[in-house]
């Protein structure tokens, strides 16, 4: 029911595009820092762990770079990063819309004759779906930069990593990450917006629904991950 209202044609395209750009900035641009920081350190740690635990004289030296690249590309930058963003972005969306509901701002939109579900939710869904592949690309890049940073500690060399990063590169894996990211972006925004839009009560309920939004979208992402991994690879 709610989704049919969300996916209706916007009342005013000019206002829709304004909100769409604003949401890309709010949800995407403001998440770049956390994505870069987490991905950089996780990339570095994955590289160190593989070097310390898997690398042996029996293994080719490029295995560290190769495994780091595959983990970042296939799982961390798409699925795990989206799980992290479900916490940040999901709670933000649910609490913002929930607060609008309990302070009658959504009623005010409805009374004006505005399709409030469409006006508030559609720009968020499309905004995050647009910006998420860019965040995933940044995450992969930051993870690889983190792996290179470990060379400063002397555990591995730049040449070994270069060889691993280039070894048997399958471009489809990159696109798998992008497809997953777009689907997860839809899950995060739609589930969180639903939780916010249907709040009844006061601030306690807004808090509860924000938590439910994060939990529900995280679980859905995990289930979707299994399904999408089977389907795409």
């Amino acid at each position: 029911m709610l989704m049919s209202r969300v996916l209706a044609r916007p009342d005013r395209m000019r206002m829709f595009f304004k909100s769409y750009v604003n949401e890309m900035f709010q949800l995407g641009y403001n998440s770049i820092a956390i994505v870069l920081i987490i991905s950089f350190f996780i990339g570095a740690v994955i590289c160190l762990q593989i070097k310390l635990n898997i690398q042996s004289p029996w293994m080719p030296k490029m295995v560290t770079g190769y495994t780091t690249r595959e983990i970042m590309l296939l799982e961390f930058s798409s699925s795990i990063m989206c799980l992290i963003l479900a916490g940040k972005v999901g709670s933000n969306i649910a609490s913002e819309i929930g607060t609008m509901r309990i302070t009658q701002q959504i009623d005010a939109l409805d009374i004006m004759g505005v399709n409030s579900a469409n006006y508030l939710i559609l720009p968020k869904i499309l905004g995050l779906m647009t910006i998420m592949p860019i965040l995933v690309t940044f995450s992969v890049a930051a993870g690889i930069a983190g792996a290179y940073a470990t060379t400063l500690m002397g555990t591995t060399s730049v040449d070994e990593l270069n060889e691993g990063f280039r070894y048997a590169f399958n471009q489809w894996y990159f696109w798998c990450g992008m497809i997953k990211a777009v689907i997860y972006a839809f899950i995060i925004t739609s589930v969180s917006a639903y939780q916010g839009y249907t709040v009844e009560g006061g601030s306690v309920e807004v808090g509860k629904n924000s938590t439910d939004a994060v939990v529900s979208s995280s679980i859905l992402i995990l289930f979707s991950d299994i399904f999408l991994t089977t389907l795409l690879t």
Binding site: D11, D110, M112, G113
Partner: protein
């Protein structure tokens, strides 16, 4: 004119509104009064379409709101303005953008004309100079005035005010009442105010409907209220010592 006929509203097995009949005239401030929990907010929500009545009709001039399609309701809502108890301003927008919002959504005016119209409405509520402030930076009284400006920016035919003086000091309440009354008379709007503020009742109540336990117990004007013999209305209106004494003085004066 808005006309309610045999309006009922039930939630599961609880009847909240029972056979409400009322007429709200153009160019008049119509008040719905009653104790908390009497059903006046439910009545207001039914009139504006936030709730659907169980039975009965709500006529906007000659248009039956209950039987309208969703699309027709949306179109009619563009003729409505509403001031909420909490003002319900959009936190993320400045005062000017809040007032411009209905114009941005529904008018084909140029940006300059939209700004001009919004500034004019802000000047009508004495808020020129506050355009760039955000709702969180202004007082409750100013927020209510911004809400009034936003409600009238599209020149509505019907204005609804849900407890507009809630949380305001008596002086600011009078300012808000005078603004609502002035705009109603100048623009010939059908205004319905939901209130339990006795100053509003005595000051601007041209047509009052008293709701008690979901029923319309009394109808009349602020001039007739002092002479009412309805016990429930008297218990509600003259609950405070000051008003009870005023009523006694009025009764003694009438006897003489």
């Amino acid at each position: 004119m808005i006309q309610l006929t045999h309006l009922y509203k039930s939630f599961e097995d609880r009847d909240v509104l029972k056979d409400i009949n009322a007429t709200f005239q153009n160019g008049q401030v119509n008040l719905i009064i009653g104790q908390s929990g009497s059903g006046k907010t439910v009545l207001m929500k039914n009139i504006v379409g936030l709730l659907d009545p169980t039975s009965g009709s709500i006529m906007y001039d000659d248009r039956d709101f209950v039987k309208m399609s969703k699309r027709e309701k949306v179109m009619l809502r563009r003729e409505m303005g509403m001031i909420f108890q909490s003002a319900a301003l959009f936190d993320s927008l400045s005062v000017l953008d809040n007032v411009m919002f209905p114009l941005d959504m529904f008018s084909d005016l140029s940006y300059e004309d939209r700004v001009k119209r919004a500034r004019f409405c802000l000047s009508r509520v004495n808020l020129s100079g506050a355009e760039n402030k955000f709702p969180g930076e202004i007082s409750g009284g100013m927020q209510k005035r911004v809400a009034i400006a936003r409600a009238i920016v599209l020149q509505p035919k019907y204005l609804f005010c849900d407890e507009p003086n809630s949380g305001l000091d008596p002086k600011t309440s009078i300012v808000i009442d005078e603004l609502i009354s002035g705009i109603t008379h100048e623009d010939g709007i059908t205004t319905i105010v939901n209130t339990h503020d006795m100053n509003s009742v005595m000051g601007i109540g041209e047509n009052i409907i008293f709701i008690c336990e979901g029923r319309a117990e009394w109808r009349g004007s602020n001039k007739e209220i002092m002479d009412s013999t309805n016990k429930k209305l008297e218990d509600f209106i003259f609950a405070s010592d000051i008003l009870r004494q005023a009523k006694q003085l009025h009764d003694e004066k009438m006897k003489k």
